[in-house]
């Protein structure tokens, strides 16, 4: 019901991805929403409550997206490319991802937030691992080593890639990195490199 609550979470997340959780202030939110500080405290008594809501919302949204991608694609590279697209759109908003943002501030976060963050990381890692294994099974992905390790490789490419590309104010740098990561996964057939779904168009959907 109360769309105010949702608006608060949405805006708060935006600010966290841009400037970090410890920089986020109740005043930032209330001013942009045209409400007062105390109104936020009604919905989220403490900042920890707000932080938890942000992570949980993020996890719910990404889980839904992942499920839909699995229905739309069979090629592992196409599926993983969708996740890269989400990161790409975050970068275009001059933000970094929630994992990176909260990850560096981790030791300053309440225990409950740390636990939620771990859940988010594991959701993505396990999903990536699953896609890699499916791809290896159906011949749409080729990689050395364990799927667990390669999932970490892909995740670190995204998490830090977005941080460094934002620093350089260079979205192309991120695109080159992710394209390389996907090409490395691509089976080397006779129909060589510039294959079907190499450079996907940039997504506009926000994570």
């Amino acid at each position: 019901m109360s769309t105010t609550r949702d608006e608060i979470i949405r805006l708060a997340e935006e600010l966290v991805l841009a400037k970090g959780f410890n920089w986020l202030s109740y005043s930032d939110i209330s001013q942009k929403l045209g409400i007062k500080n105390a109104a936020i405290h009604y919905h989220f008594p403490t900042k920890e409550d707000l932080g938890l809501a942000i992570i949980e919302r993020d996890r719910t949204m990404i889980a839904e997206l992942m499920a839909s991608w699995e229905q739309q694609h069979t090629d592992a590279i196409d599926i993983i490319s969708e996740l890269f697209g989400v990161y790409s759109s975050i970068l275009q908003g001059c933000q970094v991802c929630l994992i990176g943002s909260l990850g560096t501030d981790m030791l300053t976060l309440p225990d409950a937030m740390q636990a939620e963050l771990k859940k988010l990381v594991n959701l993505i890692l396990i999903w990536l691992k699953k896609q890699l294994e499916k791809g290896r099974a159906n011949g749409t992905a080729v990689f050395e080593g364990s799927s667990t390790t390669h999932a970490m490789v892909l995740l670190t490419n995204m998490v830090a890639g977005i941080q460094i590309a934002r620093l350089h104010n260079n979205t192309k740098e991120f695109h080159t990195l992710t394209t390389h990561a996907l090409n490395s996964l691509r089976p080397k057939d006779a129909t060589s490199f510039p294959s079907s779904s190499t450079s996907k168009s940039i997504r506009t959907k926000k994570l």
Copy 2:
């Protein structure tokens, strides 16, 4: 001369790597150093001055290390492994690297600090690129694509790998990741995988 100044920078960096620049306070430093708040302001009038000193010190130290590594090794994998070792020791102190720490808070930093941070990133990227190209030339490293892109791959592995491994409180996870990255670079001779310098011992030197 004044060792106080150096102590301040050292401790401040320690706190930044652990908890982020915006969390760092003059009180944190002064208490642990047994001095007063105003004493720090004498050496570093503003927090920006202190932040700049931290980044510059980091850049100087890493540049010195890089130069010495190049003298000690000819094998590209051995050289890059040294850098991984530095990151490994940071992780063991339950910290993340300066690039990741300041990278996520970038938009909250003064312009001068952003510029210094970019210099640090480029120092490492260019150095990695150089080692990769030397390795490709002398046959000690094999990789697909451009050296620029692969340097980014290695850097993102380090920067985000340390963040995620700290979150999981699992240094082995980082070690697995970096070992995989080095193995991917290794030329596939007849003398197959478990070759000479695969898993280097963990370094104790702090970055």
